[in-house]
Symmetry: C2
Amino acid sequence: AATNGGVVITRNLDSDAVINLDHGDPTMYESFWRKMGDKCTVVFKGHESLSYFSNVKNPCWFLEPKLEDSIKSLHGAVGNAVTDGYSIVVGTGSSQLLQAVLYAVSRDQTTQMNVVSPAPYYSSYPEIIDLVKSGLYKWAGDAYVFDKDEPYIELVTSPNNPNGVIRGAVVNRDDGILIHDLAYYWPQYTPITSSLSFDIMLFTASKCTGHAGSRIGWALVKDKEVAKRMTKYIEVNTIGVSKESQIRVAKILQVVADGCKRFGSPDGDNFFEFSKTLMAKRWEILRETVKNTRMFTLPKYPLQHCNYTGDVTQGHPAFAWIKCKEGIEDCEKLFRGKNILTRSGRRFGSDPGYVRVSMVSKEEDFDAFIERLSAIQSFNNGDG
Amino acid sequence: AATNGGVVITRNLDSDAVINLDHGDPTMYESFWRKMGDKCTVVFKGHESLSYFSNVKNPCWFLEPKLEDSIKSLHGAVGNAVTDGYSIVVGTGSSQLLQAVLYAVSRDQTTQMNVVSPAPYYSSYPEIIDLVKSGLYKWAGDAYVFDKDEPYIELVTSPNNPNGVIRGAVVNRDDGILIHDLAYYWPQYTPITSSLSFDIMLFTASKCTGHAGSRIGWALVKDKEVAKRMTKYIEVNTIGVSKESQIRVAKILQVVADGCKRFGSPDGDNFFEFSKTLMAKRWEILRETVKNTRMFTLPKYPLQHCNYTGDVTQGHPAFAWIKCKEGIEDCEKLFRGKNILTRSGRRFGSDPGYVRVSMVSKEEDFDAFIERLSAIQSFNNGDG
């Protein structure tokens, strides 16, 4: 065992074992869902959900009604987004929804649309946008330096991936179309300062409840015609979205919505309370460890009033955006040398002095990361 | 009630009710799966399948191992495709897999690939291929008339959608890439004449077992590198495929594989035997009805030896490709006048004298279709 700031960290993993914190696989949430026992258990009999169709009365004909209901319940309970007057479109993750939106807003344009996002931007955006070299849209890089006199689409990710910062649009021209990726706008990651009502808002179960394997995202869309074209994209791309995933996530979101007002409940069934506490604890450990190494820096997050908890609190993002101090040019390489896989700042349109590290991994991976991180201090002092 | 060829058809639907046979929603299979009771029941607890990852040792890292196993079992039991030496890629339906293959085979080419298919071709192919105006590939129409001296990809659908015919490639140049869409190459639709071993073979649960809502397709791919690039496409498009759907379909396919050698089983648990009998009965009723109307014609299917049943049998495709006789130019319009929605031959690169009609709808829709079809004879005799 090693100690770090008074917290004992048990050595569970061999120091040669590779710890993969490059992606945001949200296995941290497993312990909460285990504790919930059968509350979210779903059963599918062989004859159920054969049809392509979920609800022929809904323009989004493949959206399961129970999922629509639970999405509205959840946003209502948390107060992070307005749903009244919005169309809801379900997708196979918010990745598919992003492509659906790009299609929807660019399909009838006369010129190819530029898609920009302020750096550091989500590393997958360029990959997704340029995947099949679409004639409808193309990746046009960092929104901060976008100066073409051409129509554009700006992706605003808030809280941002990779650096957890609350963001607004930066191009700010009249002819721009804004897409808000709000995957992390949940209480465990950031204070809920208002109920957002942008034109197009994307969410994903992966980052809300941790159910990444289900592949469920949803879009709140103001313009019915945009929602219809998004539906068309998903119809052609995958003829809708898995019914099993939708039905299961509907139950999970409803359980979260039902429990999320019960602060301090002895049953421990307030998902956001549990998750926020866990994220806060991990960030406290991380900050203490980083302080002691004197090798790295972390972003600071402002204290803000959270409408959901009623407290004044700071953000505890799903990723740590770690900067290596002077002299270390390639932070990703440094960590790789310690068998910790991280994602280089280069991938986010930033510099290689930064890495993005998952803060939502399973407990043993996080503990091993902290242990090895604290040992890097020794390296600096010539003990390595 | 009306009689047709000795079979009593009960009038269940109001003659004004719209019967939608435009798509191939496979709700016909529901009665079999109900009969199977709990054999295919699957249960998901809240803490299961959170991770993005299914099997990090597999290049297709999001493929659930049980699904891979049951796919191999099923093809082995039916004998319709070789799996030894093949990579398996799972997709959100075979629609997504088609796009994954197009990406995989065109991504590293220097010119945009022409994608062709012999008419009448599946009506969704042009839509899928040209969805986002990809620079990698484009729809280039009917393979029978393709004469450009450029690289091409040929989609061979066999049995064909819409007309149920067994197909081979038609362009037959050395520089072509063939993709075989074998969605209907199952015993209920067509004799299994050999275990196919093409380079790229696509299948879908929707048409095999009727579980269209699950959105599960799979590709058998000879070239590992092609399989890797297909995996990449699906990774970027949707970060993998629903775990719930995969786990459920794995169970269903295994139950089908286990039961499918039990011919004449008193439990009635041989899925293909049940389905083949049902399709044969429906086609017999349809042929009798069409013969009596003297207004329409249907394709004939050759008698062939089926390796799976051991019988000599003909095909009973999932769609009826109905031709209106002379004088009726727009067959889709004719049926629409009877509140039967069909898909016009135009959509398949053929002429509007044809329509494609689903033969896999639920019982009451099929019965109502037959009833109204037989009444069209009266129209021809001046009684309408």
